[in-house]
């Protein structure tokens, strides 16, 4: 891990005229940075365009990463060689595993971050990534032309035009990660101004116009908000409950054995609660709060203090006071996102005991922004109707850094593959949270900002944070090309060691009485007259791998570095085995793709009009996605399945015929050529 400054690949507009890139990424947030880095790793000449270089990698809202469900995403992004896990390990100042007592499948690795360090890490990584160039600028419009007739789609993207000086830069594919900037408006009290983040210029209306008018994409509107930042010295933290980090910080990245921050240097968080006074202030100021009066959909799980108080009145709500960094003078009051006028925000926070005399550094505000209905995307996050156009992050209706990073990585990798004429790749919901995220987006769409929860993953016991590397790193290297060979080799070493260790555990094959002698402290029931393996024993609550290793040092001690992972593997194995069959069934269905250009209304199979309409609207890309649509009957699925099989067969015979004809022609030519003179 390092944060050394290398010679930055910074570009100036003047140098780019006529330059052809493989991939252009628009936006430098969590989605954009992962997209640009992933595209470059896959091998594409990549250009990242952002309004201000120094805000690349900025944490616009909360100073934290990970959590329950989100931590899983961070681990998976890391397993695919993304940035955010390593950046979190570098910038973290308070590490804790949430849900520690609820089972390893739902552990939520999380860290409070130092904003400055996070930004530094991301910027230094990007600026030292080969094939990646960063350009400061604002994109005016997307350049679009006729589609490649060999591929499905109505348009093809050819590049972008910058706002200043109307420079056009061409690229084979473009990834848009505009966050809240697409027709974004900021709300504080009764004032509204265009923009996506306070302090930044609004993005050009041209982009949003192209998407809607030129490409005919359906868009919707969502809202979000952020709390005021509080001056730390003005808060009496002795009145809040101290919350300490884990004494041994666990890094996010599979490549790191420790975090940059030393355990003893970590900073605490503080917990406090709202009072009836808070509710009073919210109610009195409602008429001054135009953000909250509008019915644009906001997130249910990250609501403003206004909606928390209005939906669940008469309660005391949690407020976390979080550090913003080692040297920062500010506190971030998690749970107090608000949009009332600044003077009332001050009144409100002062109703909370530790903040009686608090000062606000920056007021909270709300944002409303356009998103593109994500059912118009393929599982590669490509706009189905537009060849080469990929979208990631809030533009797809999600919320959260981790959700954005995950999509960014996947869109970036696919944009690069598209540009380099390699087939795009998909992740199944049976193998990753990223797959769950993307499948939910593209096959169900969103009605509110989408956030990851562990409950969204059907195969949660198999998709654990501890095994993200086994699930994704080999695939990332072998099939996607977004993983470095160093990481790949490491993942193979881990996989082989775990396999060997499990084999060694199963080779320990003893009677219950022998086990009792070896492990006298473990209550092994005598009634079982059967033989037990070391793996069986490791499934016991009271048995750790360390205990087994000290009983059988010769066969097990070499695997001590994997003690915790082996314990988890052992306990979860029977459940994962049960999942496996269902997973295979779903994967079979997911592997049967439905052509994107099917005319569902004229399809010569037995389908009801209702089903045809649903299929036409959503255009599921696989049979698996079709089965999960509401209103699709088993009969319809069977019919579709049949159709796909038949058309595939036809294509194959057609191809064979063409091939044979070609061969025949060649032979004829050869024959005629060799006719006797």
């Amino acid at each position: 891990m390092g944060c050394s400054s290398t010679k930055p690949h910074l570009a100036h507009v003047g140098h780019l005229a006529g330059h052809q890139y493989d991939v252009i990424v628009v936006g430098g947030g969590h989605a954009g940075t992962e997209a640009a880095a992933a595209a470059a790793r896959v091998g594409a000449e990549t250009l990242l365009i952002t309004q201000k270089i120094h805000t690349i990698g900025a944490l616009s809202c909360n100073p934290s990463l990970g959590g329950v469900g989100k931590g899983q995403l961070v681990k998976e992004v890391d397993a695919l060689d993304g940035l955010c896990g390593r950046a979190g390990d570098w910038a973290g100042i308070h590490f804790s595993i949430l849900n520690r007592r609820k089972g390893p499948a739902v552990w939520g690795p999380r860290a409070q971050l130092d904003r400055q360090r996070y930004r530094d890490f991301i910027q230094s990584e990007l600026l030292s990534t080969p094939r990646l160039t960063v350009l400061e600028g604002s994109v005016e419009e997307l350049l679009v032309t006729e589609p490649n007739p060999e591929e499905p789609g109505h348009h093809r993207v050819t590049g972008i035009r910058l706002a200043n000086g109307s420079h056009a830069i061409s690229a084979r594919s473009v990834v848009l990660t505009t966050g809240t900037f697409l027709s974004g408006s900021l709300f504080v009290g009764q004032t509204t101004s265009p923009g996506g983040r306070i302090g930044d210029a609004p993005s050009s209306p041209g982009l949003s116009h192209t998407l809607r008018e030129r490409l005919g994409l359906r868009t919707g509107r969502l809202r979000t908000g952020t709390p005021p930042r509080i001056v730390k010295d003005s808060v009496d933290l002795s009145l809040a409950k101290l919350h300490l980090p884990d004494s041994h910080p666990t890094p996010f990245s599979f490549l790191n054995t420790h975090t940059h921050c030393k355990p003893e240097e970590q900073l605490p968080c503080y917990l406090t609660f709202t009072t009836p006074g808070v509710e009073r202030v919210v109610r009195e100021s409602l008429q001054l709060n135009c953000h909250i009066q509008q019915d644009t959909k906001g997130p249910r799980y990250c609501p403003s203090i206004e909606s928390r108080v209005l939906r669940f009145p008469g309660r005391s709500h949690q407020v976390w006071l979080e550090p913003e960094g080692v040297t920062s003078d500010l506190l971030y009051p998690q749970g107090l996102s608000m949009t009332m006028p600044p003077d009332i925000q001050l009144r409100l926070i002062r109703e909370i005991p530790p903040m009686r005399r608090a000062e606000i550094h920056t007021p909270g505000y709300g944002v409303q922004y356009d998103f593109v209905c994500p059912t118009q995307l393929s599982p590669a996050l490509q706009v189905k109707s537009t060849q080469g156009l990929f979208l990631a992050g809030q533009i797809n209706g999600t919320t959260g850094y981790e959700e954005a990073a995950a999509q960014g990585l996947w869109a970036g990798a696919n944009a690069a593959r598209w540009a380099l004429s390699m087939p795009t790749v998909t992740l199944s919901r049976t193998e990753s949270y990223i797959g769950v995220l993307i499948d939910d987006l593209v096959s169900r769409g969103v009605t509110e900002p989408y956030r990851m929860f562990t409950s969204r993953a059907e195969f949660r016991t198999s998709l654990r944070p501890d095994n993200a590397d086994l699930r994704l790193t080999p695939k990332g290297f072998e099939e996607v090309g977004c993983v470095s060979s160093v990481r790949y080799q490491e993942s193979l070493r881990v996989r082989n060691s775990l396999q060997d260790a499990l084999t060694a555990l199963q080779a320990l094959f003893l009677s219950t009485s022998s086990w009792k002698k070896k492990l006298p402290s473990v209550p092994i029931s005598e009634t079982k007259s059967t033989l037990l393996t070391g793996l069986d024993l490791l499934q016991y609550n009271d048995v750790t791998f360390e205990m087994l290793a000290s009983a059988f040092p010769e066969s097990l001690s070499s695997y001590m570095e994997f003690a915790q992972r082996l314990k988890i593997e052992a306990v979860y194995k029977p459940h994962c085995d049960l999942n496996k069959k269902e997973i295979e069934r779903i994967q079979r269905e997911e592997n049967m793709s439905l052509p994107q250009d099917i005319d569902y209304f004229s399809l010569p199979v037995s389908l009801s009009d209702e089903v045809r309409e649903i299929l036409d609207r959503v255009r599921p890309s696989t049979l698996g996605a079709a089965t999960r649509l509401e209103g699709i009957t088993p009969a319809a699925v069977v019919n579709l399945l049949n159709y796909v099989r038949v058309t595939e067969k036809k294509k194959e015979t057609h191809r064979n015929q063409r091939h044979q004809e070609a061969q025949r022609d060649e032979e004829l030519c050869a024959n005629s050529a060799s006719l006797p003179q």
């Binding site: 799980y301 609501p303 929860f453 409950s455 080999p474 499990l502 080779a507 194995k573």
Partner: protein, 510 residues
């Protein structure tokens, strides 16, 4: 079809492989967990079975089995111990229950080894006699073979597709065929589901979903949000209750078996209420001794009846009273035991013992009932109606019709035969409900399917209890499986539905 990807990397595969080779155990050992109700753990694919011919009474019924354990089913049910029969040849065999080796029927068996079968997998067809009792017996016997489970709607066809068995020529007609198949199944399921049973399952499903939502909320939000600790304790209670209810239901709900073995109808009540007279009336012969002396019947008198086509095993029991006579006390104990086991109890009351104020009658009967029976279904028979004045009789009849907390009440007189016809109608319809109606749909098939899902559901709830304190993710997995299993009967449940419950019940804010 594209090749399958291994999800969890090579680890699982390697581990499974080692289990097999290092122990040297035959594969069926791995499957043996199916016997105690847990789903087959390591089988490559489930083997499915279903009644494939039309539903209802018919001459011949075809039961189809498909999947890797088909040969096992053939071996243990058609007595092929050594070699399997020649492929695609009909053979007349005795079809036996592998648990009891009892002969269930004689019929044709056909063996279709893969890939030359409808589904492309190993398949077996049993052509048996089409009576509901035979079909039920064969389906239940198949259900007891390790690795076998009832098929889901359209599953045979799905397998056939996946094996590439259905080609171009089959395409045109197939859509309609499948539609018809699933439509019939849907209608049948609807019919099954619209009644009392449907409401019961729906209620369980709602309660389970709520449990799941609360566990999920506790997992996804409790660290950062205000989710009270009490939530999980309430889930504990609900899960325990549900598990008990489902297990009780599984024990109770044996309509197919009833149809085969006869419905156990027990006559019980106080001494001298006219129980034996009722028995004699029902079987139209003096099967039991009748006398005006209280305590005449001391043992259980059993007689078999055909009640409108349904087999009934009618038992008369000793009158319930405290007695110092040892023999009579034993008779009372046996009577109560019979009542425990009864599918239906006829509680006979001497009308003359009713309170003279008619409006107190319901309360009196309620109390009386609670002294006789606890849970089983019953009918109240008010005997000796001829001893009541006409006016009181009419008033009683009015008063007791559809009173809550009371079963159906019949006012009769074994002396004058008054009310007996109405009583028989009520009894017939109760027995019919208990047996299910074999002439409609295929209750046996769906019953077997329901039973399998309910068993899986109960086993999954046990998993919740097992992991509750050590690993909430695995505990929740138990509830998830339980919800899915019930969902297979009542309709599917998605993650969004669970999230909706979470957000309705909790104030979630980061």
């Amino acid at each position: 079809m594209l090749p399958l990807r291994s999800v969890c990397g090579g680890i699982w595969r390697a581990a499974v492989h080692t289990v097999r080779t290092s122990r040297g155990a035959p594969p069926y050992r791995l499957l043996s967990s199916t016997c105690d109700g847990a789903p087959a753990a390591l089988a490559d694919a489930d083997t499915i079975f279903a009644l494939s011919s039309g539903h209802g009474r018919c001459g011949v019924a075809v039961v189809r089995v498909s999947g890797p354990a088909s040969a096992t089913a053939l071996r243990c049910m058609a007595g092929f111990t050594q070699r399997l029969p020649p492929p695609r040849t009909a053979l007349l065999r005795s079809i036996t229950d592998p648990r009891s080796t009892e002969v269930l029927d004689r019929g044709l068996v056909l063996w279709f080894p893969a890939p030359r079968s409808f589904s492309g997998e190993d398949s077996v067809e049993f052509h048996i006699h089409g009576g509901p009792a035979v079909i039920t017996a064969v389906l239940q016997a198949l259900g007891s073979v390790p690795g076998l489970r009832p098929a889901e709607a359209g599953e045979f066809t799905r397998r056939a597709f996946q094996a590439g068995k259905l080609g171009l020529t089959e395409v045109e007609g197939l859509g309609d065929l499948i539609h018809a198949e699933t439509e019939a199944q849907r209608r049948q399921a609807l019919r099954q589901m619209s009644g009392e049973l449907g409401r019961l399952y729906q209620d369980w499903s709602d309660r389970l979903k709520r449990c799941l939502a609360h566990v999920e909320a506790f997992i996804d939000f409790s660290e950062d949000e205000l989710i009270e600790d009490g939530v999980l304790n309430r889930v504990d209670v609900s899960v325990r209750d549900l598990q008990a209810e489902i297990e009780r239901h599984l024990k109770d709900e044996r309509r197919g078996e009833r149809l085969r073995g006869g419905v156990q109808v027990v006559i019980a009540g106080a001494t001298n209420a006219g129980k034996s007279s009722l028995l004699n009336k029902l079987c139209q012969r003096p099967a039991a001794i009748v006398s005006p002396i209280a305590g005449t019947t001391r043992d259980v008198v059993e007689t078999a009846l055909d009640l409108g086509g349904f087999p009934v095993l009618l038992s008369d029991t000793a009158g319930l009273r405290d007695s110092s006579d040892l023999v009579e006390r034993e008779g009372v104990r046996r009577a109560l035991e019979r009542v425990e086991q009864a599918d239906l109890t006829l509680v006979v009351v001497d009308s003359a013992h009713l309170p003279s104020e008619v409006d107190r009658a319901a309360a009196f009967l309620r109390e009386h009932l609670s002294s006789v029976i606890r849970i089983s279904r019953c009918l109240l028979v008010l005997n000796k109606a001829d001893l009541l004045p006409e006016k009181q009789r009419q008033k009683l009849d009015m008063e007791l019709r559809g009173v809550s907390g009371l079963p159906a009440v019949c006012l009769i007189s074994c002396q004058t035969n008054e009310g007996l016809k109405d009583f028989l109608t009520v009894l017939h319809s109760s027995v019919k409900t208990l047996c299910g109606d074999p002439l409609f749909g295929a209750p046996t098939l769906t019953q077997a399917r329901h039973r399998a899902h309910l068993q899986r559901c109960a086993a999954a709830l046990a998993q919740y209890q097992r992991y509750r304190d050590t690993d909430l993710a695995l505990a929740a997995e138990g509830v998830r499986v339980a919800v899915t299993s019930l969902g297979r009967i009542t309709g599917r449940v998605g993650a969004e539905e669970i999230l909706d419950i979470i957000f309705k019940d909790f104030c979630i804010g980061k």
